[in-house]
Symmetry: C2
Subunit: 339 residues, 2 copies
């Protein structure tokens, strides 16, 4: 997708950072996009149809850009950096296809989800295909070490999603449960993305570890912000893409924190709305009022800011460069989305 | 599961062959079973619950036994042979979990399918977990070459399943379409199982190729027989596990062959029954009568026999040994199930 439209998605919030990340990875991303296109092709028409429906919808491609930037920090992203970036994006897209089935979502990236057009079956199977192709690209890298990072990530992500499923609608879920879930389902892939990127670029073990920490902390911040955005951002307000988590019964941090201090009556309001797929604006706004009353969204954002700071801190010993500066600013861009 | 109960599943049909395969791989299978148990464990309770529900149900474990036997042909199965066997079984079980979602099956291996107990969501996600664990075990083998074989297999299997889905209920499906489907969705994993087994045992390139061909041909025979069994075997009769393919609209060879010579009225009978999830014994027996009229099951079995012969022929240049004799008899055991 053209750089312009990617940058447009972030209009109003720290456009500079995203523009600079996009610009600095542009050439390598072209190679990644070519690889993505060729590896999602198949003589079975339904495979590229489903895959491209999702891939063409754009998305941020933040993870592969992070892989490329992490590689460029230490050397070149060409070669294995590009392979890993494409593999990371395939893993992410496979997860999205399966998540839509799991969450019974009708929409994804502003378009009907693949499962609403081709059915759950095709979404499951094309997800499996993309996962297989991701592993194949990693095998082609010849880097067993990076392969270990990414295959471990695949198992951990699935484990985290199962844990999230098991905790859905469970009012006794704790902040620790939530932390385990987002650490597994989101931070693991961000960590893998930057770690294998650093590896591809030739980072020494210490620098590679620093980039792994950077990715993990950024991923935590990213998911916390995402979960705040589902309640309309730090200010908490009904909006275009709000309320899905509530309707799906997802025990995200804002809800968990609010439940800790809610009155029995407020608790009941939350309980009724959680997992009620038919819940409307009235139910959502009632819950929102409770979240705002107890500052649950602000507290969640404060936690996101701490992780964003930790991500920045992880880069402290990396030699200064333009790419380092850009990576340094990405966490702020992530959290800024919520204000 | 105890060897006795495994052998019991095959009672009446060439029990000798299965017993000998089980006995000759017994020690290594114990190591495989331990690995399977430890790698399907997780602090997230639902993961081992779902995984073990399927794994405990037994199944034939034919694929991992073939991997072990292929390794033992040339050397020892301990070490990478055991790892690959467990990885192959995990890939197979991941596919089964996803297949149940795709086929909307209620039963699997004589028990309620995982999805009927834990839901589609858990089946999709635990399948993903097993796939991730499979790759991790392969990474631990340190054998990039075998990793390539198995990750390519993962993508091809998914592609084959999508093709099968796209062809479901399509009366214009050809024998070539069917061959493509079963070659991808079944023969690929059999081929990978024996090829990586041979690799683990230290086979030279020529012998490795021979075992790959053996696995592929055996897999073709196995699936053809399976599809005949879904119509009650070579004689075609209503039975305990018959009619699923018809109700799911699967264009298997018996149906494709019958359609080639069916009268317009017979064609209509097949058309109505295909993909009719509520179809009962009456619809099934009407279709069965047509299959029997045109010898569609016998023709399918003849094709299975040809593949079984090709599997045996592939072993021609392998040095004689007890394991070779056992592998030589497995194709016959496979086809005998249908008579």
């Amino acid at each position: 997708m053209p750089v312009e439209s990617l940058a447009k998605q972030y209009e109003g919030v720290s456009p500079g950072t995203m523009d600079r990340l996009i610009a600095s990875t542009r050439e390598d991303m072209e190679a990644v996009n070519r690889l993505i296109l060729s590896r999602s092709d198949s003589p079975v028409d339904m495979v590229p149809e489903v895959a491209n429906h999702l891939i063409d919808a754009g998305g941020k491609r933040l993870r592969p850009m992070l892989t490329l930037a992490a590689a460029a920090l230490f050397g070149t992203a060409q070669g294995n950096g590009v392979r890993f970036a494409a593999a990371v994006e395939f893993m992410h897209n496979a997860t999205l296809l399966h998540d839509d089935v799991v969450d019974e979502s009708d929409m994804r990236r502003g378009r009907p989800a693949a499962r609403t057009i081709w059915g759950n079956q095709a979404s499951v199977l094309v997800g499996d295909f993309l996962l297989g192709q991701a592993f194949l690209m990693m095998v082609e890298s010849g880097d067993l070490d990076a392969l270990g990072v990414l295959s471990r990530a695949a198992a951990v992500i699935a484990e985290g999603e199962v844990f999230q499923l098991a905790k859905a609608g469970d009012l006794s879920a704790t902040p620790e449960d939530y932390e385990k879930i987002i650490s597994a389902k989101t931070a693991t892939l961000f960590e893998a993305a930057t770690e294998v990127g650093a590896k591809a670029g030739g980072a020494d073990p210490l620098a590679r570890k620093a980039l792994a920490v950077y990715g993990r902390e950024l991923g935590m911040a990213f998911q916390l912000v995402d979960d705040v955005l589902d309640y309309g951002g730090a200010k908490g307000a009904l909006g275009k893409n709000t309320g899905d988590d509530l309707r799906e019964g997802k025990m995200t941090l804002p809800i968990i924190l609010a439940l800790q201090t809610a009155s029995p009556e407020e608790r009941r309001i939350i309980e009724v709305a959680l997992g009620n797929a038919d819940g409307g604006d009235v139910e959502f706004e009632a819950v929102l009022a409770i979240l705002n009353r107890y500052g649950a969204l602000a507290q969640t954002m404060a936690k996101a800011e701490r992780h964003a700071n930790a991500a920045r801190a992880a880069l402290a010993d990396i030699a200064p460069s333009e790419v380092r500066d850009i990576l340094f600013d990405v966490p702020e861009f992530c959290t800024a989305r919520a204000y």
